[in-house]
Symmetry: C2
Subunit: 327 residues, 2 copies
Amino acid sequence: MKCRVCRGPAVIDVPRHNANFCAEHFLRLCRDQTRKAIEAFDMIAPGDRVLVAVSGGKDSLALWQLLHELGHTADGLYIGLGIGAGPKGRPNDEVGYSDVSGEHVRRFAASKGFRLLEIDVREEHGFDIPTAAAATRRVPCSSCGLTKRHLFDRAAIDGGYDVVATGHNLDDEAAVLFGNALQWNTDYLARQAPVLPAGNGFPRKVKPLVRLTERETAAYCVLSGIDYQVEECPLAAGNRHLGYKDLLEQAERRSPGTKHTFYFGFLDRAAERFRSGGEGPGGELGRCAGCGAPTSEETCAFCRLQARVTGVGDVPVRITSTAGVGR
Amino acid sequence: MKCRVCRGPAVIDVPRHNANFCAEHFLRLCRDQTRKAIEAFDMIAPGDRVLVAVSGGKDSLALWQLLHELGHTADGLYIGLGIGAGPKGRPNDEVGYSDVSGEHVRRFAASKGFRLLEIDVREEHGFDIPTAAAATRRVPCSSCGLTKRHLFDRAAIDGGYDVVATGHNLDDEAAVLFGNALQWNTDYLARQAPVLPAGNGFPRKVKPLVRLTERETAAYCVLSGIDYQVEECPLAAGNRHLGYKDLLEQAERRSPGTKHTFYFGFLDRAAERFRSGGEGPGGELGRCAGCGAPTSEETCAFCRLQARVTGVGDVPVRITSTAGVGR
């Protein structure tokens, strides 16, 4: 097995590129694919300040490092979600999932000298994800996603960042697309894109890893010595999204390149067809009475979640510690 | 387990309808679903003469009987494709797949008194599917589908039928849609529908079983005593279409109703979006110099296939025996 680039011994095969690579040229492939995505979709302009949503997993740590390698100014934001070690992710006395994840992020940031912001939802908003899931009686991923989107957006706006970058990879995006296509959820299909432009009080949001699979981001971390949280979130186990990933992975194994064709074929040939005639949010949004975030209702979904879970009204959102050192 | 309709002992559960049924009410469900599909998509008008494409499998025999139960005038056409008994479907001295299939069709037609037409491709066109596959070096399903479409269309036009009905069920249609969506093949997505209208020298083509899964058509046959070819075509084993069916079946098991939502959601909310702006065949077609079939080229794809496989030019297409008795 020889590297496609240098003909030296290869350490990884990438069937969808029908090629093998040595460590050096695999890492270069990852950078090239990330640069290509950023350029193709105008994700980040020269001089943009990027806020990277970091979870401690392979994708977000790889993304953070790749953005630095590509010369971007990228700070990280870690949100402590209070997910515990129990079989259902409940907080308990042991060191929990979120604690371990946070440690990975802090060690990584410190070792690289990247600037890290942190928000702890328990400390700052009085709840955690397991409690929110129990109070809302919905799957935990629902309140978790809502919380993260809200706090990342807010932190980016407050911190003067031009863009929020998330570590969604090709597997993530293809699985979301698969779920939306299975139900022909035309509103979601209309909005699915690797870039959401800024507007209406929201920052621009970008997914620079859409040209890399999760196997590739994992290999990027391993080969560049990034120590990441390898456990899947205990609250996500068995969810629909992972089911869709599993089905697409089976299709990929039968026919390498399936995920790429599915996702980029959608962007090339179908996405536009769902945008025309869709309803979309439309019009100017108002501002949340509690926190000032853009919303179409009087109070934003995050403040309503918080009020429901804690039983008390809104408390101000603020960003506290900035662990890690400036770059 | 009780029948949803009569509370008597049930013989089958149908998770996607969240219900169980006794034999009588399951058979009624199948008729109702078939009638509903025919009416919803204007498949068959009163007095239409229907030509049913019968293969000897569960779907086509169920369809033929259901159309009679619903009061339609429906004759069958069986095409002997010359698929043998060997591991790769090659003809050999044993009784082959096509021979067994034909026997099922003939016995069924005779027992019901349905009128059956037959075409044997070896006798009438000098080739069979295994030979065609070898000569074209493509998957056998490719020349098989081409041959069947051509001969069914031709027989319907020549025989004065208003419509060709095929036994494609919900699994078939959902799997085809899945394959087209995975590649965002917009031309195929634009044309995928349970009814193709007549025009340009082609007969109307309809799929009245789109509201029944293959598990349901199999149960319909078992419960109404139809003896069908239970073997899958040996040439189809491992093909892409079966792979897509398998993936959708996994999704269905996790979430009953997935296939129905996927297929009918497409028809309701997405299909139209692929029709506008598509290229389509467009314009009047010419007539094949060999057989007179509609084609955009000088000779139709079937005559070209035949010439390539047999090494000789076109031979006239004709319908020979009409086994079975008139109704």
